[in-house]
Structure formats: C-alpha cells, structure tokens
C-alpha cells in the first residue's frame, strides 16, 4: 500500500500527460492511418524513376474542389488541372478549345453551340456529355448551392441567370440545354464578346450528375470523391493534411501532350520556411511574400508576376449628406490631388513588392484587343504625377469653390501595407497643396467596403480585382447606379459608351474596343478615380521549368503545358 501511494503521484503525472489528450500510440497510429484512407487510389507509391515531378509550395489549405463552390485562386488552379472546361487560356491569353471540339455562334452573338469532344471521357470510362455541363451550370446558380461565384453566370449573361439565382425562376429556365449527348446550346441575354474567355473559368466546368448524386454531400470532399476528366487527376488529398497531389490522367483525350507525371503541393504558411524549402530543393515553384522580393530578386529563378489588381483613391463626388461633402465634387481639386503623390515612391520605396505605378484605370496585361495587342499598348497614360501642375489645379479649384482650404478624411483599411500608403498619401498631398488637410480613418476591410458601398465616406483608398479578361470588368463599375460606383459619378456619354459596348457594338469588336478606350479616357479625364498602383508579386521558379504562364485574371497557372528538365 505504502509503495502504491508513493508511486501514485508519478503515475498520475503520466496519466495527466497522456490523459489531457489521448494515448500517444493511438495518436501516432491515427496520424499515419488517416492518410491512405482519405486519399485517392494510389497515393503512397512514389513516382517511378525518371518521372517528371513538380513540387509546388502553397500558402493555404485547399479549401474546396467543387467547381460550383470554389473561389480561392489555389483551388481554381487545381480544379482546372483535373476537370477540363470548354476552353482553356493559352499562354498568350486567348481562349483555345479544350473540352469542346468546335463551336458555332449565331450572327448577333447570343446563341452558342458547343460540340463536346467525342473521345473525352471521365476517369470511370463514362463519356463527358453536354448534360454534364447543364447539370454543373444549374448547380452553380441554384440558391440551394448558394455559390459565391454564381454571379459569373450573370457576367456571362446566360439567359435567366439572375432570376434563377434569386429563385424566381426554376433552374430549367437557365439558358443552357443539351441538344444531344455531345451538343451544348447556350442562350445569352445579350452578346458578350469575352464569352469564350469566361468558358475557361472553372465555375463553368462540367460535373457528372450520376457521380455527384451518388456521392451526395460527400462530393468533392477528398480525393476519393472526385471524378476527373482533365489532364491530371487528384491522386492524394488528405483531410486536414499539409500536402495534396495530382498525377497525369492516362485516360485524358490529349494525354500525349501532358508532360508532367506528378505535381506535389506542399502547404507552408511561413514565407521564410518556404524559401528554405525552395533553396534546399524540396520545392520547385513558390510564391514570395512582399517583403521577400527585394532579398531574392537577384537569385536565379526569380520571376515577376503582374496581378490584375488596381489600387486607387475613390473620391465621393455626390455625397448623400453635407457631412461627407468636402469639395471633391470639384474636378480641379480631384486632379490636384491625383497629381500630387509620388507613385514611384509608393511602389519602389514603400511596397517594394513588384507593384508598378498606375497612370490608368485598366491594368496592364488584363485584356487583349481584336488587334491582338494589350489594351494598355494602344491607350494613353493619365493623371501622371506632376506636382507643379497639381498646384495650378489647386489654385483653380480654390477660386471655383471660393475657399482657401479643405478638410478631407481619407478612409482606408488596416490590412497589410495599406496604412503606410495612406500615411504617405497624406503627407504628399498636404505638403504639395497648401490648405488641403487630410485626416486619416482606418477601418477593418469589411467595414471600409461597407462604408463605401453606403457612400458614407469622403475619400477612400480601395482596390478592385478583375473577374474576367476584358476592360469591362473595371469600366462597368462607374456606370450610373452601379453598386461599386462608390463616388456616384454620373455621365450620360459614359453610360452610353458602356451600354453600346455591351449591346450594339458587341458584334463589332474593333468598334467596341474603341468605345472602351474612350470610356477609360472619360473616367481619367474627369478624375473619377485617382489611380495609385497596380499590384505586383513574384515567384521563384526553378530553372528547368518551362511552360509556366501566369494570368492576372481567372486561373492563375495552367499546368497542362508545364514541363521540367530536372
């Protein structure tokens, strides 16, 4: 008894250590046993010698693999690699037929007929049919799915998309139908010139109805619950794991042109550790965080990537109440502010992350016109920093407004480097324009956008990310009545240009392109928004990797064409 009593404390300590959580042996066993169970058909076997393997670093978990629900860039990339949509984006940014062999469009561009590849099969041997697209598209707009990307169907102007999303019309009324197994017919409300670009977006991928119905709520949760028809298939994806893997799909219709045998994705959230793993050879392709760019820009493999995000100042031109009235309704004051801040300093001294000064409303490398050139190549620059000229505008503004000074509150969010930029803008504007006083108001991002959507702000620092590769993804914002026309600018000529580009001119690409250029010029000439910079980032790509293209919109990277020589 005495002995037992003596050892009891030690025993209890051991129990405590084990008991606060569970038996360690069990834990270890659980950890390794969970992997094969949850992952795909052949996850454990390593790639044979000589196989072409790419190891990719990722900053976040793979959130979702259901193409009708996924929104994260990482997920969209993987979905596009394993389930092929009608079109894919080629390296030069143009859409090329993928799951569809050919297509026809009617004269006014409102009816598309796609012919699905006859030799395209799902991995279980079932042919990919037009019905798979109809099912997936209806699923995307179904209020029960509650997809965050259902608006893509509205962007594509597929007939009755809005009514289906709100539940006003049954899903059968959506403008998509299967004429026969291999013929898909899509009806649009109006012609959409970038419709084929949109068809490369993963939200429009097919889903096999029989398979998805059989899996029910389990569909797309884990590698065993995915049916693939793309260049790769999901070979491993552990629930809650830190890795996932895709392998070459031998049943893919174009398998002979898929070069990689295997792509391993490793989730590492620590940027420093990511670079150690790259340098030690564990990873071949990783994204850099903003503050790492200066350090690694001279290293072999450093690759700059231009993103489609534009950061800009949005002045409130039409305040709802006098509280938000500042004099910004005066065009000359807006121009004075736009020309006062040094954009180079913001990009190359503060951010140093590959961002570039923006003297435009439509970012670089966003859209290619009917002439085959980038939109920016054939358009001018606007609102370039010119502090002397800014002072002149300010003098004019003062006499027009009849004031000697103005007080403006700058609203911004407290994420990343935004506060630094807001402070810099404040000092630049105040130093250059005597009598302009800027006060700062920081808010969490969500509240900041809410305030701007409610028009309860004076001057806001905000950003916009493109949804599709056309200038319209930006220009549509500044039409009268648009939710994102934060400053409530209204211009008849502009509205007409946009309406024409969406309607009458939609079948005349060259004329439409000119209308879009004019529209951008109007926005800039009236200083509706004051551009600051276009976001940039960078990646390390091991020399020996080829075919890796980066797109500022839609799917960031397409793996089908990637090859490695190491």
């Amino acid at each position: 008894m005495k002995v037992a009593k003596r050892w009891l404390p030690f025993l209890l300590i051991v129990c405590l250590l084990a008991g606060c959580a569970g038996a360690p042996e069990q834990a270890a066993a659980g950890g390794s046993a969970a992997a094969p169970q949850q992952s795909g058909s052949a996850p454990a076997a390593p790639a044979p010698d000589g196989a072409k393997v790419l190891n990719v670093g990722r900053m976040a978990e793979l959130f979702d693999m259901d193409s009708t629900i996924a929104t994260e860039a990482d997920c969209l990339e993987v979905i596009e690699a394993i389930i092929e949509p009608l079109f894919v984006t080629a390296a030069d940014g143009t859409p090329t037929p993928a799951m569809c062999e050919s297509y026809e469009m009617n004269d006014d561009g409102t009816l598309y007929t796609f012919h699905i590849r006859s030799q395209a099969n799902w991995m279980n041997g079932v042919p990919v049919t037009a019905h798979d697209f109809v099912y997936a598209w209806r699923r995307l707009v179904d209020p029960v799915t509650a997809s965050e990307y259902s608006f893509m169907m509205e962007v594509a102007a597929v007939k009755n998309a809005t009514a289906c999303i709100t539940g006003e019309k049954p899903l059968e009324d959506l403008g998509v139908r299967a004429e026969d197994d291999k013929t898909l017919v899509v009806e649009l409300d109006r012609p959409v010139t970038y419709f084929l670009n949109l068809m490369a977006f993963p939200s429009f991928c097919p889903i096999n109805e029989a398979y998805a119905t059989e899996k029910g709520s389990e569909y797309a949760l884990g590698a065993d619950n995915l049916l693939c028809c793309g260049p790769f298939y999901m070979s491993a994806w552990d629930v809650g794991g830190n890795t996932y893997q895709i392998r070459k799909n031998p049943t893919y219709w174009d398998a002979e042109n898929v070069k990689l045998d295997e792509i391993n994705f490793q989730i590492i959230k620590d940027p420093q550790q990511t670079m150690l793993a790259y340098e030690s050879g564990d990873l071949d392709y990783v994204r850099l965080s903003g503050d790492q760019i200066v350090k690694y820009e001279t290293m072999d493999g450093f690759t700059r990537i231009e993103e489609g995000y534009l950061w800009y100042l949005s002045p409130n031109l039409n305040p709802k109440s006098p509280e938000y009235s500042t004099g910004l309704e005066n065009e000359n004051l807006r121009k004075a502010i736009a020309l006062s801040y040094d954009k180079d300093a913001i990009c190359f001294e503060i951010l140093q992350d590959g961002s570039t000064p923006a003297d435009f409303a439509i970012p670089n490398k966003l859209a290619i016109g009917p002439d085959g050139k980038d939109f920016r190549e054939t358009t001018g620059t606007y609102l370039t920093t010119d502090k002397a000229k800014a002072k002149e505008y300010w003098e004019t503004a003062k006499s027009e407004l009849g004031v000697s000074e103005v007080n403006i509150e700058l609203l911004y969010d407290d994420s990343d480097s935004t506060p630094l930029i807001a402070q810099f803008l404040q000092s630049e504007i105040e130093n250059n324009l005597q009598g302009v006083h800027i006060s700062l108001k920081a808010q969490p991002k969500k509240s900041r956008t809410q305030l701007m959507q409610d028009r309860e702000y004076q001057l806001g620092l905000t950003r916009w990310g493109p949804d599709y590769a056309d200038p319209m993804t930006y220009l549509d914002m500044w039409t009268t009545g648009s939710t994102y026309n934060y400053g409530e600018w209204s211009n008849e000529e502009y509205d007409k240009l946009i309406a024409d580009a969406n309607g009458a001119l939609a079948t005349d690409p060259a004329a439409r392109w000119e209308a879009l250029k004019k529209a951008e010029a109007l926005v800039m000439e009236h200083a509706v928004i004051l551009p600051v910079y276009q976001k940039g980032t960078a990646a390390m790509v091991r020399p020996g990797i080829s075919g890796l293209a980066f797109f500022p919109v839609g799917v960031g990277t397409i793996y089908k064409d990637v090859d490695v020589t190491f």
């Binding site: 950890g31 969970a34 509650a146 965050e148 629930v239």
Partner: protein, 312 residues
C-alpha cells in the same frame, strides 16, 4: 475527496459553456463574415446565410450550435475545407498536435528536472551556471525563435532533419518541433526544480534522513524530489497553455497539419465553427490539466486537501 472532485468537474463544465457563449458572441460581432467577397450580392449573401442557418437570431444560433455539439456534431467548416464536418477535420489533425505536445512536455519535464537537480546538488559550479543560462534562454526566447534557428541551421544548412513535416517520416520530422516547443517547459521546470531542491536539501528532515544513512538515490528520490515536485506541478498548467500558444506558430513554421495551424487559418478566414471547435478543445485540455493538478496536490501533500476540506 470525491465530493471535491465532482464539484470541480461541475465548475469546469460551466466554465466551458461560458467560454463558448462569450466566444460565440465575439465571433459573430466581429467585422466580416465567412463570406468575405465584396462582390457577392445581397441575394447571394442571403442564400448563403440561409444555407448555413446564419440568418437566425444569435441566441437561436447558439442554442442550435450547443444542441448539435452535445450530440458530438461540431457543424461544418464554412471556409477552410468547405462543407467538411469539423469532427472529421479534428480527427485528422488532433493526433499530430497531441503527439508533439506530449513529446515536448515529457522531454521538457525530464530534462528540466535532471538539469534542476544537478544544478541544486552542484550549487555554484559550472553545471549550475550552465543550467541557469539554459533556463534564462529558454524562458526569454519564444518557441518560434528556436524553431526558426533550428530549421535554418539543422534543417537547411546541415540537412540532418526534414524542414517540413511529412507523414511518411513522422518520427524524424517531429524532432525539431518537439525541441523548440519544449524549451520553455524545460527552462521553467529546471528553474523551479533547482530552487526547490536547494531549499529541500537544506531542511531538517533531509539532514535527519541523511544521518540515518540511506542511499543518496533514495534520499533524493523519495524525500527530496517528492517535496520539490509540488511547485513544479503548479507550473504544469501554465506550461500547457504555453505549449498550446507555442504550437500555433511552431506548427505554421514546420508545416505541421495540426490544430494549432488550423486555428490560425480559421481565425484568418472567419471560419466560425472551426474556431469554436478548436477553442473548445483547448479549453477542455486546459481545464482538465487544472483539475488533475488540483487532485495531484491532494495526493502529494495531504495538508493541502485537508485545508480545503476544513474550509468547507
């Protein structure tokens, strides 16, 4: 004793409920929602909220949550692994966190005790100074500093151990995380052990025991260590907390798919149910440690138990 334990368990249950209620309210009053895309329309948002039951009043939501939770259903993830039951997420992620947690507590306790006892026995010697230096470093540097230093020198420069956690090489890939996590407990235990042992060694009963001629091992183990253990057990609870908070960062660094890194992501992406579930587990762990520590006191030193019983 039984009555005392039952009372403590009851208090623990209430505490967990209060923690959950406060957290639930806090999470839901935070700016932002799991659906953060500024581009989604009011209709889409309404659809989403209806789908996940977020359109109901907060008390109703909490009631529904509690009801499901008591039945073992933690709900589904809204963001991190969309629509995946959280119990499955946890089942996959808890084992590795626990494994590393237990390894580091054990390692920290054992090495800390040894270091502390040696320091106390060889007072003012080189070993004592060494132990003090280790303690100071261990207490003052956060675990991620060790993690980063080790991964740079041992993982990257020397290439002895894997930089990143791998399920196929789990044993080796938990070595660096374990060491970096155990440094704080190691240092704390060493410090307390030394102080207590010095005091105990100088006490009358030790002199008496020594004069009876028992072996040094028995003297230290039975008479010395037992008395020195009380304050060490006291620090066990704060050490567990330190382990949990440390694991948040260390798991990120070594890419360990545990619940620490899960919590960080969940907070980042407003994944309410995941945050609640992980905090719930952390609270249970912490409260159980406190409970066991209290019971341990009573066993190691009956005076404490008596004092508590007399009060009642």
């Amino acid at each position: 004793m039984l009555k005392y334990v039952l009372k403590r368990i009851l208090i623990s249950v209430v505490t967990v409920l209060v923690i959950l209620a406060v957290l639930f309210t806090m999470l839901h009053s935070m700016p932002g929602s799991p659906f953060n895309d500024e581009k989604i329309t009011a209709v889409q948002r309404a659809n989403l909220e209806a789908k996940y039951g977020l359109d109901k009043p907060l008390p109703v939501q909490f009631y529904n949550y509690l009801k499901a939770m008591l039945a073992g259903d933690f709900g589904i993830s809204y963001v991190i692994q969309k629509n995946m039951p959280i119990s499955e997420l946890l089942r996959a992620r808890i084992p590795v966190s626990i494994r590393i947690g237990i390894q580091s507590v054990l390692l920290g306790m054992v090495i800390g005790l040894i270091l502390g006892i040696i320091a106390a026995l060889k007072r003012n010697s080189f070993l004592d100074t060494f132990a003090t230096v280790v303690s100071v470093i261990g207490v003052s540097f956060p675990s991620y500093v060790f993690a980063m230093a080790m991964s740079y020198f041992i993982g990257f420069r020397l290439g002895w151990l894997p930089l990143l956690y791998s399920t196929t090489d789990a044993a080796r890939s938990t070595i660096m995380p374990t060491i970096s996590l155990c440094m704080f407990s190691l240092a704390t235990v060493a410090r307390f052990a030394r102080t207590e042992m010095v005091e105990v060694m100088g006490s009358d009963y030790m002199l008496l025991a020594d004069s009876k001629g028992i072996t040094t091992l028995r003297l230290l183990g039975v008479h010395g260590l037992r008395n020195a253990l009380i304050p060490i057990i006291t620090v066990l609870a704060p050490l567990t907390v330190e382990l949990m908070t440390g694991s948040l960062v260390v798991e990120q660094i070594f890419a360990i798919p545990g619940i620490g890194s899960l919590l960080v992501s969940a907070i980042q992406f407003n994944d309410y149910n995941v945050v609640l579930a992980v905090i719930f587990i952390y609270s249970i762990m912490f409260i159980s440690v406190m409970l066991i520590v209290d019971i341990l006191y009573g066993i190691i030193d009956p005076r404490i138990r008596l004092a508590k019983e007399e009060k009642r």
